[in-house]
Each structure stands twice: as C-alpha cells, then as structure tokens.
C-alpha cells in the first residue's frame, strides 16, 4: 500500500539518514483507479538513493481524480506514465517489473503506443521491445503537419518495427503518419518548464508561439518537439493519443489535472554514498522542497549559478570518509558543469544563431536555467543524438537497429540544416515534424535534470541506459577529453539533482 509506506518516510525530505520505511519504485506503482491517497511528502528508493516527491498542496485523494483515473478507453491514466516513484516519468526498471507482474497486461503496454507496432502480436515481449528496453513510447505525428508546406520529403529507409511502412499506421496510409519513439518527460517541477522567456524566441528571431488560452507567450519548452504551447494542450493530446480518449476532457478535469501537475515537485533527496541531500546549510539546489521554493527563470551566471553553490561540500573531511569524498566529487562535477569550457560544435540552434561554430562554452551556457538545467529560451537543439552520423544508434548495417531511420531530403530553395545540409538520415526528425523546416531536423527540446536517478534511461530516445552513457556521449560528441575521475564527478553531480 503506497500511502502507508511513504507516509512513514515523510521526514526524510527534511533530514534523515536511516529511515525505517522506504518505498521501492516497483512496489509503489500507482495503478489507475487504485484510489490510493498520496501524502504531502513521499520518498522512493532508486538505484542511487532516494527520490523525494513533494505535493505542495498537501495530501491528495486520488479517487475520482482525472490524473489518476482511467478516463480514456485503454485503461491508462496520466499516472501510468508519470509515476511518483519514477520522478513523475517512468523508468525501464519499473516497466519491466510491470511486464513481469502482469504478464504484459498492464495498460502501459497498450497496443496503440506501448508496443513497437499496434499490429504485432501484443502478447509477446518482443512486440514491446522499445518500451521494455529503452522506455520508449510510439508518437505518431501526422505528415505533413496541418497547414504546413514542408521544406523536405521523408522516406523510410529502415523500419525495424514495421509501423512506418504499415498500411494502416504508416507514412503511406490513408492518414499519413510518421512514428517516432520517445521517452515520457517528468510531469513535475513544471513551473520551470512552462516559464515563458519573452516575446521573441531569441534563437530564431521569431515571435514565440502563444498560449491559446491566455494569449501570452509560451515557454515552448513543453514536450520533445515543443508542439504543445501549454499544459492544457499537452493534457488534451495525451488523453486523446495515449489514453485513446474519445470525449473531450471537461473543464473541471483539465483544471484538476493541471492543478496537480503544477503543485508536484521532485528531486533526489538522499544518496547511498552522500547521505542526506537536504541537510540544513546544505546545497540550496538539492531536494524537492528547494525545487519548489526557488524562483523560476533565473539565468545561470557567476552570481546565480545553475545549481547554486556546493562550497560546503568542496573539501573532504580529514581523514576522508565515503560521504565527504562523494560530496566533494559532486562539488567538482558541478564545477565542471558550470565552468569547464570546450568546443561546442555543429549543434543546430546553438552554433547557428550568431554564437559561432564552434563556440568555446561550458555545459551551463546551453543548460542555463537555474534549478532545472533546461534552456530559458526554447530549448530545442540538434545535439546530434537522433541525426546521422552523431546519432546514438548503430553505425554499421550489421549492428541491430532498434529505431526507424528516415531519409529527409530538403528542397533546393529551402535553407538547409546548418550542419548537415539537405539530405539527412535521422531516427527522429524532432521539431521538424512540427514545423516542416530543414533547419529543425533532429532538434529535440532539452529536458530538466531533476530526479535523474529515478528515471533511467536518458535522452529522448532512451539511448543512454545510465548516467555514464549519457556523460560518455557528450564526451565523445564534443571531444571534451574528460578523465575517468571527471566523468565520475559529473555522474555524481547529476545523480543528486
């Protein structure tokens, strides 16, 4: 019983090193319609420590709550893919456990997007391999987007799931659809995600999209491709696409969903080596209460570094112990993140916006939003994870391929992708599936850095199974030449956020 387990651990969010009862994520799975009561403070175990979840509005009764009830047609609720124990996302560890416990009948495995292809035999684990191995859900997007004349054509050149060439679901179907596979993003700490930046998208020199309800500029940082200008739009599309909802959500349902999403905060609260992360006089960036408390839209700077200061952790004790050594490592990792400069090269929407290519910058210049590690401006950039040749997928034919590969060919009169030209092979065109622009191919919105220890794997395509693989990608991509110790310092830093 989730409620009973986590209630006893509430004090951990303040400071407690040896709590009696800590919920394991897979025993804390919140099933749709379970009617459980969620306390104000919750703590969940994960491989690197414990995640704290704070519901700032106090305990919540999930009975009849549209975030927690299966209000669509396939038995899912919002909570199915936004589990408190998994930092309001969902980890591969939990997904696999659900497969084991339910023999694949949990609604998370719904054919529509919880399988590689709805037409595959759904009782087989192999039909859900992208979800079971990489935590990926199918996202089917209409092609071309409504009202857009694309600058490029799309050809499917590899289709391991079969869905993109499928007569019913594919690109040549009656409703032409491109299917890509993406991780669900945390539905928490959303004040940082939805905070608008200004009238203009400073990167592109164009006006921001507007929230259709308020008329105010959107943050354009919601979802991997920023296609939802508001949480309301996101909730409605998720209900329609992932829950297969057939009726429009009511105003009350939307208000309750958005109300919950805007009151929930999470962050790692305890580390197996570093101990409590929320001690008095400890780092101001750590723990869910600090995430809830900090102001939004604060730019990384010398006076306001991205994750505040770790000065109190810089020096290990004498004689050193595991805890102080770990904390010193976190402080070093933060210093690398903030200050270590390297050549940032060939990143569309970073190096192509007047900042030079290459630019000698640090991680925190792009990940510049204090507390979240996102971008205060619209954060879709082509880091390279989805586009050949820097993608995370197989480099030679003989390697097995998980994801579809598309060949995008840009019109000769269109602006080409700034660093890949006019013919681009990609496993996910990203933002370009929304805008139809060549320059946006492979651009994926940055994710927040919070609760990482609870929600592996990483990157939008789930290609980094742990934080080491994530750091290794950046090290290779930008020739950072991190030492083994520096990599570990970065990993430790990321793991406590």
């Amino acid at each position: 019983m989730l409620g009973a387990v986590v209630l006893g651990a509430a004090a951990l969010l303040v400071a407690q090193d040896h709590p009696e009862t800590i919920a394991k994520p897979y025993t804390s799975w919140v099933e749709p319609g379970s009617g459980t009561s969620l306390p104000r403070e919750m703590v969940f175990e994960n491989p690197l420590g414990r995640l704290g979840v704070l519901n700032t509005a106090g305990p919540i009764d999930t009975r009849g709550h549209p975030f927690f009830e299966a209000i669509g047609a396939n038995g899912r609720a919002c909570v199915t893919c936004h589990q408190p124990a998994n930092a309001m996302s969902v980890s591969v560890e939990s997904i696999r456990e659900r497969w084991r416990i339910t023999a694949g009948r949990d609604p998370i495995f719904a054919a529509i997007d919880g399988s590689n292809n709805p037409r595959l035999p759904q009782e087989l684990a192999s039909s859900h391999s992208l979800l079971l191995d990489r935590g990926l859900f199918r996202v089917g997007l209409p092609w071309p987007p409504q009202g857009i004349t694309p600058e490029f054509t799309i050809d499917v050149v590899r289709d391991p799931t079969g869905v993109n060439r499928d007569a019913m679901y594919g690109l040549r179907s009656a409703s032409p659809t491109v299917s890509v596979f993406r991780r669900p993003r945390p539905a928490a700490n959303l004040k940082y995600v939805t905070s608008p930046d200004g009238l203009f998208n400073v990167k592109l020199g164009v006006l921001m999209d507007k929230d259709p309800d308020t008329g105010l500029p959107s943050s354009m940082n919601i979802m991997a491709d920023a296609r939802a200008p508001s949480l309301r739009v996101q909730a409605e599309s998720a209900y329609r696409d992932h829950q297969e909802g057939t009726h429009a959500l009511t105003r009350e349902q939307l208000e309750r969903i958005l109300g919950f999403e805007n009151q929930i905060y999470m962050a790692q609260a305890w580390d197996t080596r570093g101990g409590s992360l929320v001690e008095p006089n400890g780092p101001l960036a750590l723990g869910p209460a600090n995430v809830a408390r900090n102001p939004v839209h604060v730019l990384n700077s010398a006076k306001t570094p991205g994750f505040h200061f770790f000065d109190m952790w810089v020096s290990a004790t004498s004689p050193p112990d595991t805890r102080s050594e770990f904390r010193a490592s976190v402080a070093r990792g933060n210093d690398i993140f903030i200050n270590r400069r390297f050549w940032v090269k060939d990143v569309a929407h970073i190096n192509s916006i007047g900042l030079a290519n290459p630019a000698k910058r640090s991680c925190a210049v792009c990940h510049n939003a204090q507390m979240s590690g996102m971008d205060l401006a619209p954060g879709w950039v082509d880091l390279g994870t989805t586009n050949y040749p820097t993608w995370t997928e197989s480099k030679v034919w003989s390697e097995s391929a998980d994801l579809p590969v598309f060949k995008l060919t840009c019109r000769t009169d269109a602006k080409p992708h700034p660093f890949l030209g006019r013919v681009i092979y990609t496993s996910d065109p990203g933002r370009a599936l929304v805008t139809g622009r060549c320059a946006d191919i492979g651009a994926i919105t940055m994710q927040q850095f919070r609760g990482l220890a609870a929600r592996a794997p990483y990157f939008s395509n789930g290609s980094a199974k742990d934080l080491r693989e994530l750091v290794d990608y950046y090290d290779r991509r930008f020739d950072m030449r991190l030492t083994g110790q520096e990599k570990q310092d970065l990993i430790n830093f990321l793991s406590v956020l």
């Binding site: 608008p196 930046d197 200004g198 009238l199 203009f200 998208n201 400073v202 990167k203 592109l204 020199g205 164009v206 006006l207 839209h297 604060v298 730019l299 990384n300 700077s301 050549w343 090269k345 060939d346 190096n351 192509s352 916006i353 007047g354 900042l355 030079a356 290519n357 290459p358 630019a359 000698k360 210049v365 510049n368 971008d375 205060l376 401006a377 602006k415 080409p416 700034p418 660093f419 890949l420 030209g421």
Partner: protein
C-alpha cells in the same frame, strides 16, 4: 541600455548569450574608398586563445581579423565552421589576434555547406584576444538604424532574413510606437542587393529575398499588435546596385510611418 531592454523583449535567455561580451566591432556606415575595402568569400578560421576565441579569414595572402566570440547582443555575429563567409569590411591598422582588423565589418554566413572550412588554430603565446566589452548601448549598427522612432531600417546578412536580437528589439519598439501614435499607414519596403567583391565579381542575392524580408517584418509587426490594414508592403524586384563600399547597407528593410 540594450541589455535591460532585451530582458523585457526577448527574456532572460538572451542575457545568457550576452554574458560573454566581445571586443568592439562597432560598425559604422562605411565612408571608405573601394581601395580600403576588403570584400571576399572565404573559409573562416577560429583561433583559440587564453580567453575568447578569435575569428579570422585569409584573403590575398593576408590574414584578417573579423572579430571574436561574444553573445547575440553584440554587434558582431561570428562565422560558422562548415560554411564559407562573405566578409565586407574596411582595412584597419595594426594587428589583432594575428590578423589585420577590418573595421567596420559585416560577416554573412553562406548557407550551403563547405565541409573543408574546418580550421581551428591552437592558442599561441603572444596572440591574445582583445578584452571583452559590453554590448552596444542602443541599436547595433550592423543590424538597425533608427533615424527617428517612425523611420527605421533593418539590415540583413547576405541572402538571409534572420532577425538578430537587435532587430527584434527594434521591431518591438517600432510596434509600440505605431500603436501609440495610431499610425494609419506604415510602409514596409524590402530590398534585395548585390555585393561587389574585391576581385570584381558580383554576388547577387536570390530573387524574392526582398519580399521575404518585407513580409516577415510585416508579419512580426502584426504579431506584436499592429493592425494588418495599416501595413503596406512592397519589394523592388531589381537588386540594389553594388558599389563595393556600401553593399551591406543595401540588404535592408525600410519602415516608414506616414
């Protein structure tokens, strides 16, 4: 001060990109003779230094200093490896970062890929980047000219319609002015141009770029609240004549409140 204005207009994100101010590449309208001008297409070269990287380019056996890495609030937007650049500048004195400075200067990144443009020079003792300076206070002359609040000219890179940060600030101010004065007619004229290179070749912008620029300006003003009915858009088809001196300032959109 433009930094403060920008925070209102384009948000705090811009300040991230301001934070590393670059050396002054304050561009003034050129009054130099063709002999003092250098207008050429070349691969850019980036040189590492102890501080900010410098941007250089070779032409006619000489190395020219273009500018240094900064932020988008600076007047100078650096080149991109992987692309050739059109350099249009006036020869200055001395050497900066190992190259002869071009001042004023306008650098346009050409859109097509040039993979051979990939030179990064290592830092050298004795070759330093100039100290950073703040972004210009007011419109950056490479991008915006405000004759008065109702007469504004926006400048563009070659063959491009990109709005720099300074252009977005100017458009925001202009839209506010149009609405405050209840202007009944706003003329938006987009131009395409050509540039005469130092080797006497002439590069001409693509057809329609003037119209694209004008339409984008009008769309943006409308998005900022200006009534569409007051916007009168035009774009001469014939490119502005190249003279090898003033060419960067022909790639423009003129906006006049009548």
């Amino acid at each position: 001060m433009i930094g403060g204005r920008v925070l209102l207009v384009v948000g705090a994100a811009a300040a991230a990109l301001f934070a590393h101010g670059s050396a002054a590449q304050t561009t003034q309208r050129s009054t130099s003779s063709p002999a003092a001008r250098r207008q050429f297409v070349a691969c850019p070269i980036v040189r590492d230094t102890k501080t900010q990287p410098c941007w250089l380019a070779e032409y006619g056996g000489e190395l020219y200093y273009l500018g240094q890495q900064g932020g988008v609030a600076n007047d100078f937007y650096p080149p991109q490896l992987g692309h050739q650049v059109l350099v249009e500048g006036t020869v200055g004195t001395g050497r900066v970062c190992g190259g002869i400075p071009l001042q004023p200067i306008k650098v346009s990144v050409l859109k097509e890929l040039s993979p051979s443009c990939n030179t990064i020079l290592p830092a050298e003792d004795g070759i330093e980047a100039p100290p950073p300076i703040p972004a210009p206070r007011g419109p950056a002359p490479s991008w915006v000219r405000v004759a008065n609040p109702g007469n504004v000219t926006l400048y563009f890179d070659f063959d491009d319609d990109f709005f720099s940060l300074h252009v977005t600030v100017a458009l925001t101010d202009l839209a506010a002015h149009i609405m405050a004065t209840k202007a009944s007619r706003v003329e938006v004229v987009g131009y395409r141009a050509a540039t005469r290179l130092s080797d006497r070749q002439v590069l001409t912008e693509r057809a329609q770029i003037g119209a694209v620029r004008a339409r984008k300006v009008a769309d943006t003003l409308e998005g900022l609240g200006v009534a569409r009915r007051v916007l009168v858009i035009s774009a001469p088809e014939k490119p502005e004549r190249a003279d090898g001196v003033n060419d960067p300032w022909n790639r423009r959109v003129d906006i006049h409140i009548r």
